[in-house]
Amino acid sequence: MARRVLITGISRYLGGKLAQRLEKDPEVESIVGVDLDEPEVDLDRTDFVRADIRNPLIVKVIESAGVDTVVHLSIVTTPTRVGGRTAMKDLNVIGAMQLFAACQKAESVRKLVMKSTTAVYGADHRDPAVFTEADQSRSLPVGLSKDAVEIERYARDFGRRRPDVDVTILRFANFIGPDIETTLTRYFSLPVIPTAMGFDPRIQLVHEDDAMEILLRAVLEPHPGIFNVAADGVVYLSQAVRLVGRPPLPVILPLVTPLAKALRRAGRVDFATDQLRFLLYGRVVDTERMKREFGSVPRLTTRQALEDFVRSRRLRQLISPERAERWEQDVFAFLRRQGRSDVEART
């Protein structure tokens, strides 16, 4: 039972939202948020501690607050935000190591919930079509995938050293929704969406609300183990581009990486080069374990989540579904009239 909760990464969307939800629960006595930046949402009774989790001082924070549940959400996915790949790796891996070391020392800790990513599975053409939690990618992990694999390993090691602690690892698919800002949401907001010519990856998303539900329940209830968290259903990137209603820009393979770098430098979309393979081959995960354990099915499918994103952001679409339907009716009516006038001319 979570009473005293520590959240790392409170300045980000997930952390802030989680704190807000936990504040509403009277059983949760205290909430401490740790991050380098302040939270962006209004928080009532959450204590904010500006700290770097790589600093061993984090032990003091945990012990003094008598924290029993640690929620580790501060995994950086975009290199530029923190000043490059090396800095990102440092923050992610060293940060996790220090945090788990601190948890190991703190006797009060009873539960660890960690945000991981389906990027641990990588993306390769030799991979199984659908990944289950027991699977590994055929390709060597690089970048974010590598960080996530390492961090998970430390979390599992921690779990072995402290068998009295419940460790829950949530491998989230790509988030999408009205409020959250991710590389993918910025990608879909581009005026023209670049794709790799000849490749059409299968994409699976998770709506920000559904992800929050699972996260909240993982924090408040006992659910030890590793879980893929994703929406039902899959869309192709070509299909997603059409659902978003923007024109695609097919780019030949050799130009994909340079274009990604250019977009990164222009500050539009920060796609880590090692994650570009996701745009070639995609990734789909199995969520049976999540459904069995949490007894719930995500409310929105991948397609519905994407449609909600498009609707809420009021993206200017080239062809909206309504306009397309009107065109269909107009064209049919026009052709019909042509057909009839031909009959008339003949009679």
């Binding site: 079509a129 790799a196 490749f199 299968r202 192709y236 059409r242 062809i319 579904p321 052709l335 019909r336």
Partner: protein, 332 residues
């Protein structure tokens, strides 16, 4: 007595209002009362469905609706990426003339394929390019009463290359791995495997219709473990579509391909060499070999796997020889 001046034109228009628009056999306007907005009388009302150009109006409407939904992303794909609508409405009409007119495929033994439930179709593989897999799949869709979709298992070469990868996924095929196979069989899907693999398609003319080694029998293990029937399929005609008379090994190595086929028309005639020869095809489905009567751990019995491998290979080889003889001449 008053005289009313009535213009001739007005009188004509009034009498014509509500009249049928058709012209009768002696070339005059029909004088029956018109019905509805079409403006024809009961005699001349077109009973044929409304046409727009060469198409029926309903067909045009459904084509427009399809175009709209595809353009706005309003369609469903399964977790493997199988796009049923794309396969049935966009690709099948392209394969149909190839199979029916060019190859004149004759199907035999289709009743051996169950109407529903999982199964593993095992076929011979030939012809430099896996055209036989495509013809088999779309032929099954076309001619089987339950219009079953065969989920083809392909080599990773298909998924590595641009354009072929997504296309293969969209028509329902996936990587030939145990994991994907089990998952699909668990959902009651009908799988199609070609155990000869590259050795089969890259055989060469001299080895035509001689089945190559069937690998280690991995597909048998899958069928035994999933307890689904093994259904042999013999495809005659694929060898002559792209008869491989030589293999340009250097070009193959340069491109990262297992072989580079040289046919009588390729690469000499350039892109024209890509047109397959119009051989006559016969695809026969043999008696299924059931597996659900065997013990649950039968898949671990190496001798049993070996034996079943031989059995199914023989079955296909026999069907091939029989159909080759009954086919008579190759192209006509």
């Amino acid at each position: 007595m008053t005289a009313q001046v009535v213009s001739l034109e007005e009188a004509r228009m009034r009498s014509e209002a509500g009249r049928c628009r058709a012209i009768t056999a002696n070339g005059r306007r029909c004088r029956n009362r018109g019905l509805g907005e079409a403006g024809f009388c009961r005699v001349h009302l077109p009973t044929r469905p409304e046409r727009i150009g060469p198409f029926q109006a309903d067909t045009v409407r459904s084509m427009l609706e399809l175009a709209r939904r595809r353009a706005t992303g309003d369609y469903e794909v399964d977790e493997f990426g199988f796009d049923r609508e794309f396969t049935e409405r966009l690709i099948a009409p392209l394969v149909r003339p190839l199979a029916e007119r060019w190859f004149r495929v004759q199907w035999r033994g289709l009743h051996h394929v169950p109407d529903e439930g999982a199964g593993l179709l095992v076929a011979n593989h030939a012809g430099s390019v896996p055209l036989d897999a495509v013809v088999m799949k779309f032929g099954m869709l076309e001619h089987h009463p339950a219009r079953r979709h065969v989920r083809l298992l392909a080599a990773d070469l298909a998924f590595r290359m641009p354009f072929s990868g997504p296309l293969a996924r969209k028509i329902g095929s996936t990587l030939a791995t145990h994991q994907d196979a089990y998952r699909l069989l668990g959902k009651g899907e009908l799988l199609g495997v070609f155990p000869e693999g590259f050795k089969g398609v890259g055989k060469g003319w001299k080895q035509r219709y001689k089945l190559q080694r069937f690998g280690r029998g991995g597909f048998i293990e899958v069928a035994l473990r999933a307890r689904v029937p093994l259904i042999p399929v013999a495809i005659v005609g694929s060898e002559e579509a792209y008869p491989m008379i030589a293999n340009a090994k250097l070009l193959a190595r340069l491109g990262g391909f297992p072989y580079f086929p040289i046919t009588p028309t390729f690469p000499w005639l350039g892109p024209l060499g890509l047109i397959p020869f119009p051989s006559k095809w016969i695809i026969e489905v043999g008696d299924p070999i059931p597996t659900d009567h065997l013990p649950k751990d039968a898949w671990q019995d190496a001798m049993l796997v070996f034996e079943m491998n031989d059995r199914i290979r023989d079955s296909i080889q026999q069907m091939l020889y029989r159909n080759l003889m009954s086919r008579g001449s190759t192209f006509f």
